[in-house]
């Protein structure tokens, strides 16, 4: 039994007014990959932005079991009434302090990341971007500052379907990655790089001064959202690293090292114990594993497209 039966069409089937009304009122039901979210937003202006980002996502009615109930409220903090903040809560409780109101969208998106990471342990959650081409999934595991998000964003506009830029979701004991399409966070220089690289991409406003610098979000492609129920087995695992002015270098990496990097970078590897060990082992055994060093996004995407297309034939 899934929540499919409670599918009410797409967000874009609603008018922006109705969308806002639901967010401010009883809450809006959204299907995001395997998660059924209930969202309440009471921050002026944010609902229009979310309407654009989530327009292709599936609406859910309210009489369902949800994966989480989240809320973003506008708060004025006594005694500093001039300081307007937003409060992110899950089931009525706040996991972190209130944040400045101009960071509302990043706070909301990071909040969703937090909720998923903290309570979705029926899945193994790798810290990785996941993309699909020719029915095979590619993992781009995250290494801080190495540019996984930029590469993921770029590839999503060169023929790859995006599963996620952050969460490599897979059920232990299975072999298929599970899509969780959501707005992707681009930081600092990446924002302009992707604007140039994919002029047709929908990128939201840039928010400066967040904990991660300046952040803007990229909407996942319509295709990525439309196929969010289509899983895929992993064909390649590529550990990317952007190095200024470096020439492209794609090298095989040992399975042992791949295993170690995946395991140490997962959100809940240790929690899942033996099941995680076996699942990561399967992934690494089946997939071709590489390290990639690049500086030119176009060149990198072309190389990876070739690799994926060669493997498919």
């Amino acid at each position: 039994m899934t929540n499919e039966q409670h599918n009410l069409g797409k967000v874009s089937d609603l008018s922006q007014q109705d969308f806002e009304g639901l967010l401010k009122g009883p809450g809006l039901g959204l299907q995001i990959g395997p998660f059924s979210a209930r969202v309440r937003i009471e921050v002026e202006g944010l609902s229009d932005l979310l309407y654009d980002f989530y327009r292709d996502h599936t609406l859910l009615d309210s009489e369902i079991v949800h994966s989480f109930h989240v809320r973003l409220q506008h708060k004025r903090a006594f005694p500093r009434l001039y300081r307007r903040t937003v409060r992110f809560t899950v089931d009525g409780r706040k996991p972190h302090e209130d944040m400045p109101i101009d960071q509302a969208l990043p706070v909301f998106e990071w909040g969703l990341n937090l909720v998923v990471a903290l309570r979705s342990h029926s899945f193994l959650m790798l810290h990785s971007a996941v993309l699909e081409r020719n029915d095979k999934a590619l993992l781009l595991p995250a290494m801080p500052g190495h540019g996984k998000s930029t590469l993921c964003a770029g590839m999503s506009h060169r023929g790859w379907r995006t599963f996620s830029d952050e969460f490599g979701l897979i059920r232990p004991g299975t072999q298929e990655m599970i899509p969780v399409p959501r707005p992707m966070a681009l930081k600092n220089e990446s924002i302009q790089i992707i604007r140039d690289f994919a002029p047709d991409a929908f990128i939201g406003p840039a928010t400066p001064n967040t904990r991660k610098g300046t952040v803007a979000h990229l909407k996942p492609t319509t295709d990525s959202i439309a196929k969010q129920n289509t899983k895929a087995q992993v064909g390649m695992i590529i550990f990317p690293k952007w190095v200024k002015e470096a020439s492209l270098n794609l090298q095989p990496i040992s399975k042992g090292e791949s295993f170690m990097l995946l395991a140490t970078n997962a959100f809940n590897y240790e929690l899942l114990g033996e099941a995680a060990f076996r699942t990561v082992g399967d992934l690494v055994e089946r997939a071709d594993c590489y390290r990639l060093v690049y500086s030119d996004l176009e060149e990198a995407t072309r190389r990876l497209n070739d690799l994926a297309d060669t493997n498919a034939s």
Partner: protein, 376 residues
């Protein structure tokens, strides 16, 4: 509106009562009820217990996938924590093989695990609690310190608070792992107003077959759970602890018909009557606890004045049970605040209480914000 709020509180309690007793009824719940149940069970830390009941009844697969995922997630958490606890116990036992012969008593969650009690499965376990004779405590702490277990990095206030004011030891953690270990000399802190006789507790301890550890006697295990809940805690969302008490009583009384009378005698011997009174009173409507009428009658005399009972009846359930996540209630907030103050009042003398509350208020106001979890 007040009637509505009360209704929300009542419906939460009812859903939890059903879920803790009747997995078939959970499988038959409509989506809205199941959704609410999962949210409040998570907050009350009984989602794992409920998941175990459903798993044992082979009903997990009949639930909607989104519900199943969350219940399985709770089971994963519980299993992981339990393994970590057992491993920590293994490492401590291994380390202390070469220590002078001293009895190490595992308490609470660890005891339930070692004894394979029915409430151990699905229980989201927190710290390792170990009890030693008071005279041995300093030596044990030093021995473990030298072998990799260190006090957490606490603020100077906290270190001072632990060592000089409560005379308890701050928790220790091994460098390579993350499980916190609390070393105790009694079932209550030194500064608490109640002072059960540690000697008697130690004497009643028995060895766990196939383990290097001891546990308290059956009645003492129950009394510890009862005393800890009612006299060492602010009670907020501690439904899980009440469920522990209920399951312990069920288990021991099923094993031995004399359990109840022995529990009462021991409570008198250790001067812990009030904790028994409250625990039995508030676990009664959890069903499942077949507390003999005679026992209820006997413990009735162990309560405080009627006016206090009246107040506690109104505030304790509002603290123990999770609030409705979408309908906050001032009454619940007030109840919890009152019990918060009470928990400190009974744990420490008035002057220490004032010092502690003042300091905590200052830290909260001017201290730095908590870190958020990774966002990548």
């Amino acid at each position: 509106m007040p009637a509505d709020r009360h209704k929300h509180h009542e419906s939460v309690r009812e859903l939890l009562h059903i879920a803790l007793n009747d997995p078939g009824a959970v499988a038959a719940m409509d989506a809205a009820d199941l959704d609410l149940l999962i949210r409040v069970a998570r907050r009350g830390r009984v989602l794992g217990n409920i998941a175990v009941l459903l798993q044992d009844a082979e009903l997990l697969d009949s639930l909607p996938e989104v519900a199943r995922d969350q219940l399985e997630s709770a089971l994963v958490l519980a299993t992981s924590r339990a393994s970590l606890a057992l491993w920590e116990l293994d490492r401590i036992a291994w380390t202390m093989l070469n220590y002078d012969d001293v009895r190490c008593i595992a308490m609470k969650g660890c005891a339930y695990l070692l004894l394979d009690m029915p409430n151990a499965r699905g229980r989201i376990f927190a710290d390792v609690d170990l009890m030693f004779p008071e005279s041995a405590l300093a030596g044990v702490e030093e021995f473990l310190n030298q072998r990799g277990w260190r006090s957490q990095e606490l603020t100077p206030y906290d270190q001072n608070y632990y060592r000089n004011w409560t005379h308890e030891l701050p928790p220790i953690v091994h460098a390579e792992r993350e499980v916190e270990i609390d070393l105790h000399h009694n079932i209550l802190p030194r500064t608490a107003r109640l002072k059960p006789d540690a000697e008697k507790l130690l004497k009643g301890a028995r060895e766990v077959a196939g383990s290097d550890y001891f546990v308290l006697g059956d009645e003492d295990i129950v009394l510890h759970a009862m005393t800890h809940l009612m006299f060492n805690d602010e009670l907020a969302d501690k439904l899980r602890d009440l469920v522990d008490i209920r399951i312990l009583c069920e288990h021991f009384s099923a094993k031995d018909a004399e359990f109840w009378s022995r529990l009462l005698s021991r409570a008198e011997e250790l001067d812990l009557r009030r904790a028994v009174f409250y625990s039995l009173r508030y676990s009664q409507d959890l069903h499942g606890v077949a507390i003999p009428e005679a026992i209820i009658t006997l413990t009735r005399a162990w309560g405080p004045p009627a006016s206090v009972v009246w107040l506690m009846d109104r505030i304790v359930p509002r603290a123990l049970y999770p609030p409705h996540p979408d309908h906050p209630s001032r009454l619940i907030s007030i109840s919890r605040w009152l019990l918060y103050v009470r928990s400190h009042w009974i744990r420490m003398p008035p002057w220490l209480l004032l010092y502690h509350l003042t300091n905590k208020a200052c830290v909260r106001r001017f201290g730095r914000s908590r870190e958020s979890a990774p966002t990548g």
